[in-house]
Amino acid sequence: MFRHLMLCATFCTATLVQIVASPASAKDAYIPIIVPLTGFLSLEGTAQRNGAVQALENTPEGVSATYEVLDTATSPEQAVTALHRALDRGEPVAAAASIFGTQMLAMLPVAKRAGLPLVTVSGTAKLTELNNPYIFRFFPGDAVVKVAHANYAVRELGAKRPALLYQTTAYGQSGRVHLARRLREMGTPLVYEEALAPSVKDMLPALTKLKAAAPDVILLHLHSAPTALAIRQARASGLDLPVVAGSAMHQPSTAKLLEAAHLKGVCAESASSPVSESVAKIAAFTREFRERFATDPDAFAMAQYDGINMVLAALADGASSAQEVRNWLAGHTFEGLAMTYKSDGKGNMAHDAVIICYDGETLVPTVVKRYHNVDGVL
């Protein structure tokens, strides 16, 4: 019995490797997808994977590309190992790389030595501050989205006493710095703030203190499940203040955790919201994504889709090596589905943000405000 199971496990593993790994042929451009598919960032990593795969399965005419998906899990070592494996398997012209900033920091020196452009949606500010010419970030960083976040709360909702709950992770702390700075600049400093570890389940203690500070808006900069928990527990404890959340709230999987009524008065910043858009090109992307992956696309998926499409545009324009692709990404403007992308010289490609709001009746948000060219690069 045990031997049979072991044989079955061995066979299944071998089959899986065959399916996942599709070795590059000489004429095809090889673009590995090196993202976290397991561990605490698997939700975002899977969105990245799906966006990249959708782009690579719909290459422009004249461009042929192969890909393989490599899981970076949760540690920098695994990410670097996956990158080395991709480099050993062929001559990649670019790679879709992890959303996890800590992994990206470890991968960047390897990519620089190999001359391989990394196309990511990671928001960690440090990534584009290291003078590494091989990083290209297709999701707006905190310098863009947190400005939109704060501006919407203060200028559109009229907030004067904002309160903030943020994550203790690098993601949370980076967002907190930009939000607090922008709010101070606008003369509306935070009246309460608290950092929550991603493992915190019961948020009533923080909400009790937040309530005592008498804020007029709740700002959230939390991951997916903590965002839903904070909103549900706030509503259950009678806190009916407007909420402006971070980009995790725009993810359809976050909204599905809540009842539509809980979402009344809830808005969020994001790079985009594919499920909210009726523009034909985006609607077609969303429809195809749902058919291919049986789930709704989010902004991470669409940003990664746009990023890989820009790489494919470089190939279509004649770039044939990793260095030529890098130069093309650094020097061209690209019209993607979510926005127009252009490097600021450091690899920050995305400069727009949107604010989405829920009406309390459906789980599909509406884009209520668009902030174009927030950092003035375009």
């Binding site: 397991t38 608290e194 570890a197 019961d202 009533l204 009790t208 599905k256």
Partner: protein, 300 residues
């Protein structure tokens, strides 16, 4: 503020009660095989997903309505998890039972990883919302409103902990489990089927983990990576309460829940966590047997 304190206290007790179920299962396995079960947290996560699947299936097949769904899903989850517990013992313990305990605890880590990655592959990385034990709502005590869901979690956990205690200490079956846990060879010498007792201990421990998973999955959602947090809390509860002591682990788990919530409310979550780990270190340093030391001191 008194209203807030009462609500915080109820939340702390509810959280602690769920931790107690996890810790109880943890101690049962330690006592039975002398090795730490590092898959306990992932088994809690699995219980949450089993509850989600059962609830979806009962509603989609129109076998049940949403009314009272949780009350039906809880025992069904426990039965399914008990079966998984027996499988767990067959795969992670039986092949290694004559090896040193370190082999078994490594195999439990591997089993936990398989559960985590299996859940990720089967259900995807999205957080899922389990069924409530009873319908959402508030119950008023004067001017104080307390969540009905939290109260139901406390009642369910108290019932399960009490029932486990009765089974272990007041039934022949429980005596056999405890006899095997104390000395398997001696228990077998007097006619107890040690192999069967250990399998049933795993079933009971994993059923309790499943119950905790179901109770937590509605309040706090469930994701494939949730196991680590629950594992840590159970480990701390067992260390503080006393290795091998069911009562110690239960009391310590409830106190941890209350401590976490109240300190976070007065100071911050970061301080609450730091103080909890500082207490753990102090206990390991000054009283490694825990507050309620095991009488025969097998594990300290």
């Amino acid at each position: 503020m008194s209203a807030s304190i009462l609500q915080l206290l109820v939340n702390g007790i509810a959280l602690g009660a769920a931790y107690a179920l996890i810790a109880l299962g943890f101690v049962l396995v330690i006592n039975a095989i002398g090795a730490v079960n590092f898959a306990q947290g992932d088994l809690v996560m699995t219980g949450g997903f089993v509850a989600v699947i059962l609830a979806d299936w009962l509603i989609e097949s129109e076998a049940w309505t949403t009314w009272g769904l949780g009350v039906l899903v809880l025992p069904l989850t426990m039965v399914a998890m008990a079966a998984l517990g027996i499988l767990f013992s067959l795969f992670a313990y039986v092949p290694l039972r004559n090896r040193p305990p370190v082999s078994v605890f490594i195999s439990t880590i591997a089993f936990g990883m398989m559960l985590q990655h299996g859940a990720n592959a089967a259900f995807g990385p999205d957080p899922r919302n389990g069924p409530p034990l009873i319908e959402a709502g508030m119950v008023s005590f004067g001017s104080v409103g307390v969540s009905l869901q939290q109260i139901s979690v406390i009642v369910a956990a108290t019932f399960l902990i009490g029932t486990t205690r009765v089974v272990l200490f007041q039934t022949q079956f429980g005596r056999q489990l405890r006899a095997t846990a104390q000395d398997q060879e001696m228990a077998e010498a007097i006619g107890v089927d040690g192999f069967r007792s250990i399998g049933l201990t795993f079933a009971l421990a994993v059923a309790l983990a499943g119950a905790a998973g179901m109770l937590l999955s509605n309040q706090f959602f469930v994701t494939p990576t949730d196991g680590g947090v629950f594992m840590l809390k159970a480990y701390i509860a067992v260390t503080l309460g006393g290795w091998g002591r069911l009562d110690g682990a239960t009391v310590a788990a409830i106190l941890i829940g209350i401590f976490e919530v109240m300190v976070a409310a007065v100071v911050s979550y970061v301080v609450a966590e730091a103080l909890l780990y500082a207490t753990l270190l102090l206990v390991l340093l000054l009283r490694p047997s825990g507050f309620l030391a095991e009488s025969i001191q097998r594990r300290t």
